[in-house]
């Protein structure tokens, strides 16, 4: 992956005025590079959508700066947005217009030629499995089909950057997985940089190269998903013990490992490096187990941990 910087956000801040001013985004800075998929995570109200809206200019920042391709977004808005597309589950398209009419309008807004519009429209509608809906009004589409149409709208412009706000929220798992694969392909083939928000942590871990975790408008972590997960959680090893339950507990206490006992199932919490030692100690103690399940820390563990910390604070 090259390190060409396509988006640079510096000290971005959004304060909603009112009797009690509300700080929605608090002095955040980050960069997005060509071909990078950057996840934006956080609980509801953390500032993800506010950030995306500012990156699209549909919400004015209180202070800070946004540079796309080295150009100041506030003074080159229109020029910059020719290379930036957006799709969200939470917006729609004119529902009395057909799929084709909507895509034609947006294709024209992004300056695509008639030939480009026709070719790309068909190719992307086919790719997302809604080519048969081309002549249908948006009002006739299901929520999942509208979400896919929004993705067609975003990607058929061949943008250099795509901002995706919960792109798979209303999709069935199989279609969501197709969307994830599509996003990865687009990045690989065209070097598209993507800013990605989702509540599906497994999906974020699969898609994103790097994750920003927002809490109360601030970035509290910026790292690759695996490291974030490991930063707050250890592995869990679950054993279904056939013979030697008391010896299993004794091993756990000897190794000073936290454990939970549920009938004949014992769950240990430990670092990945300790797993071999544990299994060896159990074998030496003559413990027989019929099932073993090793669970690595996930981004969801991190999310739950940080969300809990956020609520407590």
């Amino acid at each position: 992956m090259t390190k060409e910087k396509v988006l640079s956000v510096q000290n971005l801040r959004k304060v909603y005025s009112g009797k009690v001013p509300f700080v929605a985004v608090d002095d955040i800075s980050f960069d997005l590079h060509r071909g990078e998929i950057l996840g934006l995570l956080g609980s509801n109200g953390a500032g993800k959508t506010t950030t995306i809206q500012m990156l699209l200019s549909t919400l004015k920042a209180t202070s800070g700066s946004i540079f796309y391709f080295g150009k100041d977004f506030f003074t080159h808005r229109s020029e910059v947005l020719e290379q930036v597309a957006f799709a969200s589950t939470y917006v729609s398209l004119p529902w009395m217009l057909t799929v084709e009419q909507n895509l034609e309008v947006f294709g024209r807004l992004y300056g695509l030629s008639a030939e480009e519009r026709r070719k790309r429209m068909d190719a992307f509608l086919e790719r997302f499995g809604i080519i048969s809906k081309k002549k249908d009004k948006v009002s006739q589409l299901s929520a999942g089909q509208i979400t896919r149409l929004m993705l067609v709208k975003a990607f058929m412009m061949r943008p250099k950057i795509v901002l995706l706000d919960e792109p798979t929220a209303s999709l069935d798992p199989d279609i969501a997985e197709e969307v994830v694969q599509f996003v990865l392909e687009e990045r690989k083939i065209n070097g598209t940089a993507i800013l990605y928000t989702s509540h599906n942590m497994a999906e974020v871990a699969e898609v994103c190269d790097r994750v920003l975790f927002l809490q109360k408008g601030k970035i509290i972590a910026d790292d690759v998903p695996e490291r974030l997960a490991k930063s707050v959680a250890t592995c869990r090893v679950q054993l279904l013990v056939g013979d030697g339950l008391k010896r299993t507990v004794a091993v756990a206490e000897k190794l000073k490992l936290p454990y939970k006992l549920d009938h004949r199932t014992v769950e240990f919490q430990l670092d990945e490096a300790q797993i071999a030692n544990l299994l060896m100690a159990l074998a030496q103690a003559g413990v027989l187990y019929t099932n073993i399940n090793i669970m690595h820390p996930t981004l969801e563990d991190y999310f739950l941990h940080m969300a809990g910390v956020g609520r407590r604070s």
């Binding site: 506010t50 808005r77 807004l109």
Partner: protein, 260 residues
């Protein structure tokens, strides 16, 4: 200013053109107005012989009020369409500039006004055997001025709605009628009480309708009336554009997404 993007926005509204809602706005309501008021005028003409030109004056007022109403409506309701369709963020997250959206609205408004006028004139001719274009081509400059009046009212409503949202969407239909009693559409300005005349004098529509009645009754084209109306229209329209842009920017401070 990018004409490709302006054409894209024009098409976005044009594709809605053949839908039942749009058809009702274009044909049903103007025809209903013309029929109801036309019948009333015919009845007045038959009972009050001393006012032989009253019928055509009222009908002309009706048809030409449609120009104000229509050009106002196109701006205000087309903006509401974006709220209702949750498409505002989509639209303004593209390279589209606000000025381009405004120009597209105006062009689309002109297109629909032409359709409405032609249709209205045919209905009047068919129902009452009256040719509202009898006043000759002198009505054209007044039409241009009426379109400007409609736009300034439309931008006034749109400016308020873009900042305060859908809770004030009634303004799209109401604002023009706030000005109607003072615009001398069916009666001369002199019929108004003195405080009403003060308001009427400040409105460009007053000079247009007064001027059109002069053409009808006295076959006189008043350049003074036309220029006064055009001057006031251009002045107010420039103010309203600035007001609209200012309110749009204020709305952006709160976020366009909240309007959907």
């Amino acid at each position: 200013m990018n004409w490709g993007r302006i054409w894209a926005v024009f098409l976005r509204y044009y594709y809605f053109f053949a839908k039942p809602d749009s058809m009702a706005d274009l044909f049903f309501w103007p025809a209903l107005d013309i029929f109801l008021w036309g019948m009333t005028s015919v009845w007045i003409q038959h009972t009050e012989q001393e006012f032989p030109k009253l019928a055509i004056a009222i009908l002309t007022g009706l048809v030409f009020w449609q120009i104000v109403w229509r050009s106002n409506y196109e701006i205000a309701v087309n903006m509401l369409q974006e709220f209702w369709n949750r498409n505002l963020v989509n639209l303004f997250s593209t390279p589209l500039k606000l000025s381009e959206w405004i120009v597209a609205m105006m062009l689309y408004g002109i297109f629909k006004i032409i359709v409405t006028i032609v249709f209205g004139a045919f209905v009047v001719w068919g129902l009452y055997s009256l040719n509202i274009f009898n006043m000759g081509w002198s009505f054209l400059p007044f039409c241009v001025s009426l379109i400007l009046s409609g736009w300034l009212i439309g931008f006034l409503s749109a400016a308020i709605m873009v900042n305060y949202g859908q809770r004030l969407q009634i303004l799209a239909w109401m604002t023009a009628y706030i000005f109607a009693p003072f615009s001398a559409i069916f009666y001369p300005m002199s019929a108004l009480p003195s405080w009403g005349q003060l308001i009427a004098k400040a409105l460009p529509m007053t000079y247009i309708f007064e001027g059109m009645r002069l053409v009808l009754y006295e076959k006189t084209f008043s350049m003074e009336m036309l220029l006064t109306s055009l001057g006031l229209n251009i002045f107010y329209l420039a103010l309203m554009m600035l007001f609209f842009r200012w309110m749009f920017e204020k709305s952006r401070e709160k976020g366009l997404a909240r309007l959907e």
